[in-house]
Symmetry: C2
Subunit: 274 residues, 2 copies
């Protein structure tokens, strides 16, 4: 089946165009595509080069390319529109209604999103990332007093990637605590966690999936055995129930979804960067 | 100055609505706002609850709220539109032209973006995150043969957050190598890096900024002194030049921008998750 080429064109990093474009494309599952990102298109000359690439893709395929764009400069955008493609510019579509509502013209300045506009926000993000790394698993730090949330769960239930995502995406201070076998045996909340009960959030996962993940890490180990995995997950759930710790089954969840559900449940403010 | 309330409403995590909405809002700097995320709005009942919250915000302020939405269900969206707000739905605006171009109806199914649709993509992302952690700074692993890119730079030049972002956002295998004082003295590319020259990418940063960052970490240390910082940055630049390692000054860059420029320069495919 022939693939369509999808371009993400931006005067900045392309993150917004990619996020938005991929979201839309997920609504068309039967339409295979390959994607090309063309970030940092800030001048008419760069736009013309991008148009050449898009037109070349159009010539090579029976399927016209789709261009998802976030371009704030009217001139650059006008040039891009000459490409032989379905051209969807997110800014062009929404800046008009926003100007009318806000009663002011838009800046028409590129590089504001995902640029380092705000040093305070930037530092919060780096601090959160460092916090997640320092308070990860067995890494020594247990600064739960400073944490916004402390993820609790058995090994490989998704704690670390979730903490890093919460830090990078939302500047949230997320620590994580891996439950040891002794702690799981006792079914009591570990002592170090007790003063922070309101910050705790449990992660659980389907036993077959966890077995598979652990098996890839340590093939044929006790750690990856069905018995061990089932014991750990059951004991963790019992602990969450007993201590009243909210939890989420991560089996069918992306990291975005786990993060979003945690923030929602714990009523943590999303410190989204600009 | 009165702040407007901006809502991000989604039937899924809200990441797309937040990314797009914040990008648009950066074009209106003089308009202060507070943001509220309302993710996982999947039913008419949930939509009605969201409308109540938006209407309450409208009553509390002279400024009408703005709603950035990504809702695929027509009924849910129709209910949301009753809110007293400027309602901008990203899917509503673009699904029509895409349906026409692709010659197929959209799925109208929520939860496709940032859900765990594709287990292969999900694993690639987790593997990349584990790879970044295992190959970070002094953490032992130096699996540069498997890496897509190896970031090189002095301590606190932005290597670690960039590697983690590359992993989480693009499933790119990014390692990083901190230059030691001995290595900087010699100005020779460290031996362990030489076989991987094509994968190397240098990060540099403004000396004042680096001093400040290091000072916050270890106040009044030699590590944070102007002399030390200047020596290290000069020596690193000399090394990059001599070995022909491309590099980027991260001083004015967000993590998104650093990541995007690296992928662009190194021609690394963006394995964007769905």
């Amino acid at each position: 089946m022939q693939k369509r080429t999808v371009f993400f064109v931006s005067d900045q990093t392309g993150v917004t165009a990619e996020t938005m474009g991929h979201s839309l494309l997920t609504q068309f599952e039967g339409a295979p595509y390959q994607s090309v990102s063309l970030p940092f298109i800030k001048t008419v000359a760069q736009a013309e080069e991008a148009v050449s690439r898009i037109d070349a893709a159009a010539r090579d395929s029976a399927l016209r390319p789709i261009v998802f764009a976030t371009l704030v400069d009217d001139q650059v955008r006008a040039h891009m529109q000459r490409a032989n493609a379905l051209f969807l510019d997110f800014f062009a579509a929404f800046l008009g209604p926003m100007e009318a509502e806000l009663g002011m013209p838009s800046a028409h300045a590129s590089g504001r999103a995902h640029g380092m506009v705000d040093l305070v926000a930037y530092k919060a993000r780096i601090n959160a990332t460092n916090f997640a790394l320092a308070n990860d698993d067995g890494s020594g730090n247990r600064d739960y007093a400073a944490a916004d949330v402390v993820l609790v769960g058995v090994s490989r239930s998704g704690k670390t990637p979730t903490c890093l995502y919460l830090a990078l995406q939302y500047s949230v201070l997320a620590a994580n605590y891996p439950l040891t076998e002794d702690e799981l045996d006792s079914a009591e909340l570990p002592e170090v966690l007790r003063p922070f009960r309101a910050k705790l959030f449990g992660l659980t996962i389907n036993p077959e999936r966890l077995q598979q993940i652990r098996h890839e890490r340590r093939p044929n180990s006790r750690y990856a055995s069905p018995q061990q995995v089932q014991f750990e997950l059951r004991a963790a759930l019992a602990m969450f129930a007993r201590a009243g710790v909210p939890y989420l089954d991560t089996t069918e969840c992306s990291i975005e979804e786990i993060a979003s559900r945690i923030l929602n449940r714990q009523r943590i403010e999303r410190r989204v960067r600009l």
